[in-house]
Homo-oligomer: 491 residues x 2
């Protein structure tokens, strides 16, 4: 394959972009800041969707669909939310084109087709959804309302990066309504747990669960929960957030319910989402200089079989051996591809599937036929082994499990050894240079948080949920602090 190979240690950012493009995951489109998700990338996203959707339904949620557009008057109703997104809104102002009188065959916007009220392309759907919930919720009997939506959203970003930050992205957004504050908080925490479990068991990415500081909260939330992953360059990536919205949207859209006792009260809300950003996390958490490393759970192709042959007769003999193996693997729910194309050499194929992160590669040549063996190569450790055809399906099944565990364990070890506990500013700066998360005391003020950000580009990723209270002094202001928080430079 004729593409530029870049090593992580030379230019991590360029390595990432190249990998996304070369592994056929996504590419930039003709529309500024928007990406095309290519079939191989989309197949991975579909697997994420299926797994998440299953978990949402198991926790009692239903899917629905709300409009792409938000009328400006609804958009601005919850002021903090509107303020938070106003600067990145794509705005529809007209609903018709017409022929350009000065330029045959070309079109111009028809000035007679100006909308009375501008429409915002949803950057998030709280406004349109809560204006709808107003009609759906009258009584405590209508609660809880547990709804999720799979959708595209648009946030006009100036600096974009494939998957990590694009003007349009795909996501799911849960929007729930509850009769009590406590129930809403429990929901927000439950969905954070769903995200964390999904990230760890399915994407094999260890995460830290925590809450954001007020500065870093979702616009319109009373509390934002987050899961933070650590990438191989030591930077943090926010992988999913779950918000306790209090009664902010209920008040903005006047959504009240009759309690059992007959009083009228504002409804309590949550929202929570993960996006195609998870693709970026998956790529950056595990891959190496040769290409993607995909945990078997998420790999569109889990096993690839490549025949090593000279001449059609040899190929035919190999294919006859491969067929029952393929069938047996499929029966076990293992996705397997037999690549017997004669347009590419086997060396090319090896590199191709390495680039695409296929967890297990099986090569079968004439010598294997004689010895009743195959050559197995695992993508994660690059180990090769010659194994017997007897009991091969079981060997592969165990191997896939082992690969999943190994990938997670490696990422977990990396994360654990890169959380630095520091007590002074000098230690803090040194730790940031090493990369990773820095656990440090902070005085709890937005001013100090801002100052640290300005000086070091590090932000408070979260106040971890599993932290214990501990007296200390803020690394910058030396004022007293009761708890460590996690700092990091982040995507």
């Amino acid at each position: 394959m004729a593409f530029q190979k870049i090593k992580r240690e030379d230019d991590y950012s360029k390595w990432y972009n190249n990998l996304v493009v070369n592994a056929d995951l996504a590419e930039h489109s003709a529309v500024r800041g928007c990406m095309v998700i290519k079939p191989y990338g989309y197949a991975i996203w579909e697997k994420m969707q299926q797994q998440l959707d299953k978990r949402f339904k198991e926790t009692g949620h239903s899917n629905a669909y709300f409009p792409l557009f938000v009328p400006k008057s609804l958009f601005e109703a919850e002021e903090k939310n509107a303020e938070g997104f106003a600067k990145e809104c794509a705005v529809v102002t007209h609903y018709r084109l017409k022929s350009d009188p000065n330029n045959p065959g070309k079109l111009i916007v028809d000035p007679d087709a100006k909308l009375e009220e501008e429409l915002i392309v949803r950057p998030t759907s709280e406004a349109i959804i809560w204006s709808t919930y107003k009609n759906w919720i009258q009584s405590y009997r209508d609660l809880p309302l547990l709804i999720n939506q799979w959708a595209n959203v648009v946030r006009w970003e100036m600096r974009t990066r494939l998957f990590l930050r694009t003007a349009e992205f795909l996501w799911q957004e849960g929007h729930t309504a509850h009769s009590t504050r406590q129930e809403a908080i429990e929901e927000a925490e439950r969905m954070l747990d769903v995200y964390a479990e999904f990230a760890e068991t399915f994407l094999a990415i260890p995460v830290v669960k925590g809450v954001k500081t007020p500065n870093e909260r979702f616009a319109g939330a009373d509390e934002t929960y987050t899961i933070e992953g650590m990438m191989q360059d030591g930077k943090a990536l926010q992988m999913g957030t779950s918000h306790f919205l209090g009664q902010n949207f209920a008040k903005a859209f006047d959504v009240k319910f009759a309690t059992k006792e007959g009083t009228q009260e504002y409804v309590w809300a949550t929202s929570w989402g993960v996006s195609t950003r998870l693709m970026g996390a998956l790529i950056m958490a595990h891959s190496d200089d040769e290409g993607l490393i995909l945990p078997p759970t998420i790999a569109p192709i889990q096993v690839v079989i490549i025949p090593i042959y000279k001449g059609l007769e040899e190929l035919e003999t190999i294919s006859q051996k491969v067929k029952p193996l393929q069938e047996a693997l499929k029966k076990l729910g293992i996705s397997v591809k037999y690549d017997d194309r004669d347009t590419q050499r086997s060396g090319w194929k090896f590199a191709e599937y390495e680039l695409k992160g296929v967890p297990v590669r099986i090569a079968i040549g004439p010598r294997d036929l004689q010895n009743n063996t195959v050559e197995i190569a695992r993508r994660d450790t690059k180990e090769k082994m010659s194994v017997s055809m007897d009991g091969l399906t079981e060997t592969i099944q165990n191997l896939l499990e082992d690969i999943q565990n190994t990938i997670y364990t490696k990422a977990k070890a990396y994360q654990q050894s890169n959380i630095h506990v520091v007590n002074t500013w000098a230690e803090f700066e040194a730790a940031l240079e090493k990369g990773g998360f820095v656990s440090a005391h902070w005085d709890g003020t937005p001013e100090t948080e801002e100052k640290i950000k300005d000086e070091t580009k590090a932000t408070i990723r979260c106040i971890p949920l599993d932290t214990t209270l501990e007296e200390g002094l803020c690394i910058l202001s030396r004022k007293p602090s009761k708890q460590r928080v996690l700092f990091a430079r982040a995507y």
Copy 2:
């Protein structure tokens, strides 16, 4: 339930709208022409998606995702396509809002954030996709390219109706590229067959397969294939289309490939789509004055079990009988709901599940417990029967199959008896008044087609694929014709 009950014979259109809203399928949103698809409606759409997606993958297609926006210069590249959609385009002109200096807390479009080039919200994606394919296709080895996208699209409609015609709708759009004309035509026909098979076996709606007249073709297509369903009011509904696009988009975007022989040729294209409009077809093809009638294949709940009881002790005894039944049905892949809510009477529940089209209702009361029976009611024919608990799962399984067949057979009989073959203008007008499809001779000119449409509101739905050539005279012009075509008033 406190809603207005409307009969089909009194006002079919109002009956439809009421049913969509009362059965919790969808409702109008705060955005002109856009709908909210409610959880129950979306669950049906999800089942359609799963089935279609499976069929697309079985026929070799992969999913991908392309941008929501199309830059104006790309949009106008294929002139016929652009002309066809120009009048219904939502146009993004700005990318930022700012605080209204005259109106604290309100926002206005920031005039400094005007886009250099306007972005069209995709009404269909040929333009953005073919501008991308240009980079993906170099050689015959890159072909065929078989891609599908699940997406939202926007066509600014002046008169909208839930599911049938909305400004934003959900759909899938297949976009394929081929090295020969013949292969592209075969693809377009294959996907039409996929749609027809899906409509008949899954939605239980018989369809007529045919090609559109040049007048009714998709803008930019050389041939448009269609499946046309007949609704209960005799009107036609176009349920899916598949287009042979010739080399029109390849020429507009300069997409050539190197043949095996080393020459450069333009690529051949197809596109094909079905949308949430299918929800409208499903509702109108089968439902009655009491509510939805859903074929079991598409019903989110296939069996509902309702306990008839007085007091908690009786409920407990019934629930103990129901539990193993529920488990046994689930094991067979039958979706079953046990509605033991004490907040609603059983009569209310009966009406509710009738309205929602649940195919099989099982009621169990104290007398059933004594007799080892249950009462089964089927939604389609409204028959009730008392059946033994012994072998109940098998009874239900057979019943679901029977319901599916009965619904299809009924729709097929209705369709067959409402295709009127006529030879004169008087017969034509009389047949149209009766409703249904009218099979008649047409002279093949767009002028006559237009005249007939103006006088009767009937359009040529299609030239059926299974038609036989037959000499005749055009019903309007009395000019010679070689083939009958199907006319109807349509949605």
